[in-house]
Symmetry: C2
Subunit: 335 residues, 2 copies
Amino acid sequence: MESTVTLDKVARQAGVSSSTVSRIINGTARVSAVKRENVLRIMSELNYHPNVLARGLASGRSMGVGVLTQDISSPFYGSTLRGIESALQGTGYHPIFISGHWHVQEELEAIDFLLSRRVDGVIVLGGGVPDMRLQDVARRLPVVVLGRSVPGLEDQCLRLDNFAGAQQATRHLIELGHRNIAHIAGEASHRDAQDRLEGYRAALDAAKLHFDPDLVQPGDFHEASGFLATTRLIEGRTLFSAVFAANDQMAYGARLALHRKGLRVPEDVSLVGFDDLPGSMYTTPPLTTVQQPVEDMGHAAAQGMLRLLRGERAEVQPMNIRLVIRESTVRRRSS
Amino acid sequence: MESTVTLDKVARQAGVSSSTVSRIINGTARVSAVKRENVLRIMSELNYHPNVLARGLASGRSMGVGVLTQDISSPFYGSTLRGIESALQGTGYHPIFISGHWHVQEELEAIDFLLSRRVDGVIVLGGGVPDMRLQDVARRLPVVVLGRSVPGLEDQCLRLDNFAGAQQATRHLIELGHRNIAHIAGEASHRDAQDRLEGYRAALDAAKLHFDPDLVQPGDFHEASGFLATTRLIEGRTLFSAVFAANDQMAYGARLALHRKGLRVPEDVSLVGFDDLPGSMYTTPPLTTVQQPVEDMGHAAAQGMLRLLRGERAEVQPMNIRLVIRESTVRRRSS
DNA sequence: CGCCCTCAAGAAAGCGCTGTCAAACGCGGC
DNA sequence: GCCGCGTTTGACAGCGCTTTCTTGAGGGCG
């Protein structure tokens, strides 16, 4: 435990060459059973742990997979990270997380950081890194992208059908008899937010319902913006009996704003979110929302990465999105 | 962008020795201005990024700080990770996260992993790694521990006063006139949970209130257990007008269970949580809870780590815990 | 019985960088 | 013009491991 135990030390102790020890560790070649046993025993006696840095330097593979996320503490991405972590478990590869905080410059630096860390592959979760840069990186090492589609890398991209999800959510409200459905939009610059807005409009169109711009309020995917948007909605002159928020966090904010104004969910106003965060099952009432299989997505992305690392094709399959109907939506009162 | 750019390549291109380039990068020694300019220019032309592995191997410092957390997607630890990340930002050090999943064996392996990764320091977030192992590790490199106190390492431990927090929460309910206060306990094996239970009892004792074991229900810190515990409470024979849950997630579950049984919060039952998760401000009604400065804690822990890395003392200061009174608690109806 | 082939094991050359040591250089002073 | 001093710079030996190339010992076969 004093001075670090090196492979050489183990080799000397066991009376073999360092090559032999290396071979035993990596299973790179046959080694006589006697020597193997002996070396393994000494390794555990000395409590030897290979130096990953040296190993990476010598072999050219660091056994690290870079994961560029936006916010390590985001309830949405959190589960995805968990999925990645669990899929990598036991494969010898290990995730290295780094956050871009929805800031292109920071994301670019994060990628440079990962590259200088000599990761063997990169998983990118959304964000705003220019396609070109990703294509660039993909030329050098395996890349899997979640939540967006990069030209030329389509089969390594795991997209979610935000449009269809939003459409489904809105249709659900329409089928319940709602005619005046408000929408709290997400950060306008996010592709996801745009798609969800489009899905909302498409559902209205399909039902031949009038699209009222007054019923669409901007938000930024955080609770506070949902609260504000809903307050504006209530104080506005346009009536509505249902709200579709572009994500669950904003739906939480909306829920509180309605509560403050004495409006009950779902009796007075139906509410639908998007994401199905872990907490959405336990709001009062439990929230109807579009479920993104976030953890599975992480898992699938990591699986794709492992395939790429083995030299195969990523073959990531598009994931299913589905509406989870809970108790925040009911048929519109005939009144 | 083809074959990786090495320091040697830059040196040759610039017509200087690799030592000189190294010196320019690290600022280890004076270098004539002309050469510096020239080398810097070539570095950016070639888009050179030092190989962190090689650097770590040669210098013995990997510039990585290992962070042993329990669950990368936990809403509670998430903010702490964020705090660590932000404190390390710009210092040259980078966090390497790994989860133990509240599983001692896994945590031990995680520590081995970090050591073999040759991190320069380790931050441990709670968990069940035996004190001895932590003392062992601390002998080899800087260690900061969050949420528990390890003998001999006291000044590198950042403890939260769970006892005082729970006491405060309970006292608050008592001051509002509540006499029958239920408690949903956390995972019995967690020190935090035990301390919170003790705080609850202490507050009751101080007010000369009878401690009724029937009003204490076991939980496991997750929503579902809060729901179950509260259901048991309601169906039990002992009346209560307030619930103190050992964490916010269980309080959410309790909230839903009360709702299901037609009990209103706070009119019929007052509810207090613990942690002040980001979402607790937006529950209906907003939750009264004990605030742990989770992000600040991460920040402080990382600061302490940086100090240790500079060879100074950690000097981590105990953090303040405080009760945030929102709308889930009210004076008991005189009825 | 000798030759060639096979397979285990060792020697040694890096991987890309840091850091020590010594050489080279320039400068002022005598 | 030469000496000594303080700087800038280069050469080189690792850091701990992988991997190629060799060596050496058996083993099968003619």
